[in-house]
Amino acid sequence: MSAPDRNPTDQISTDRESPDSHAGELPSQSGEAGFTALQSEAPDSPAALLARLRDALPQAAITLRSNPGPAAQHSLLVEPADLTDVCRLLRDTPDLAFDFLSNVTGVDWPDPAKADAVAVPADGEATTRTAGGFLEVIYHLYSTSRRVGPLVLRTRTADRGDHAKIPSLVAIYRSAEFQEREIFDLFGVEFTGHPDLRRILMWDEFVDHPMRKDYVAPDDYQYEPTPHDAVLQKAKRHYPAQQ
């Protein structure tokens, strides 16, 4: 690891000596040509992207979900089976180039009606199917080269139990690695194909998923279960299998 001899002072294009030759300058310093918020006009509106995705992947079930709030960040609802195809296309198509998966959010929806209120289906399109609720994973994608975003993708598990599975995006976006582990840990979504799916914030022996809406917090982790009646009852509620 012998470093090539280089002058340490000009390693980074500094602005102090030659302010006009700054390599880091953006094309537009005042920012007017900077960024396209994805939600407004074509060709980067979610509706336009939806049309392109449907053209390229005719077998995929993708629908537009509108956001009723002032933020108006509309999203595309993708079936888990199509998720990796959609993301690969978004990343690798040169004029889309969504190369940066910024954020992955897990959400627990025991009541599907609430999910439809936040992400409203278009007229005539089916509302959410599962009666017992589901877990949802929301992805915020950006393009660093084209400077557009966020493209909001959402995908939903079949239920909140054994079929809470979603394909992992780690092979496409490495930034999903820890975030998917976190959602696995706190929500209990199994990301199939994840190379290292372990708990990340809770300890390995922990048995529940604390971010679920129906999670019952124990009174006291340190002494649990204690012999006191009230605490013991609460601990039993928490670990029904051990009764």
Binding site: M1, A3, R6, P8, T9, Q11, I12, S13, T14, D15, R16, H22, A23, G24, E25, L26, Q29, G31, E32, G34, F35, A37, N67, P68, G69, P70, A71, Q73, D92, D99, F100, S102, N103, T105, V107, K114, A117, V118, A119, I138, H140, T144, R147, P150, V152, A171, Y173, R174, S175, A176, E177, F178, Q179, L186, P195, D196, I200, L201, M202, P210
Partner: protein
Amino acid sequence: MISDLSRFSPSAAPALDDDQLLHVSLGPQHPSTHGVFRMNVALDGETVVSLKPVFGYLHRNHEKIAENATYLSSMPYTDRLDYICPLSNNWAYAQAVEKLAGIEVPERAEYMRVILAELTRLINHTAFAGFILGDMGAWGSALMYAFRERELILDLFEDLTGARMMANFMRFGGCRNDLPAGWAGKVSALVDGYGPFLDEMEDLLIGNEILLSRTRDVGALTKEVLINGGITGPMLRAAGVNYDIRKVEPYGIYQRFDFRIPLGETGDCYDRIMIRFLEMRESIKILRQALDQLPDGPFVHPKAKIRNFKPPVGEAYARIEGPKGELGFHLISDGSANPYRYRVRPPSFINLTLLEDMCLGLDLADVVVILGSIDIVLGEVDR
């Protein structure tokens, strides 16, 4: 585009059998005091063949706490995420709620936010310079100078917010209180003195032989891998990727200021240190302009609701260029007083994704420098 990411697969098998390797548990009381972070490192001699970070020692499920609290009562909790930079966290959260509820921010509050955020950037990058020298064995002296300057800024924060660090200062639609009399003048004086301090600090560091040999060509990855790994902030720009949210997606009033985005060349640890010095020079420029232009007017929107605040149903993702990278908040409202879902996109946590990739094949001593160059705060990593 990215043809082969398998080289960076975390499950890549080491060359030797497991029982021929030396397994070292670095931490959780890491000697460089980055916090309670642990790394399980497997060594072949001095060479790192695998590195598994272990998280969660500071986990209190901030996001769950926020779901059980009103929007405003999460504001003090955001101070404790990246506790070096509470005011940036305040801003990121306030901005997300403003987007969620469609709240306007008056001009004076926007300027106050920019001033506070850039002062916070100075604090963070200055402290970083001290910490990274500590990682290289120069424990104390650089950190002492860094903390001397940091304390001057914290004094200003105390004047303004009542607290050195846990500011709890931003509100949805503005700030909590107005600037005290004479405060802007004090900031101007501090900003005028900061350039000479940076000159002094750079003199101390840049040509230092130990720093050069410990940081050059250590921990560099290619641009494509960094973007794919979700790395943001100075780490990304040190590799030459021109992506600063203040320019790319200007929030607040950043489009009004004349400043530049410093870029590195190789993305090694040396560039990561230098990029932070250059960013501080740009922050000083922004501060000067903001102090000059600071208008009169209300510091919070007159119609902003403090009590019984209920944003409409919907969701919003908003992000700022925090000192450590992209700090985002994703909020989902079901129309009630508490967020249905409150998600922090923590730059410290996601910047650790590629820690193993940066360290593989290097010496154990380089791991400490690389970890320092990522600039993490465990309050934000573990949440």
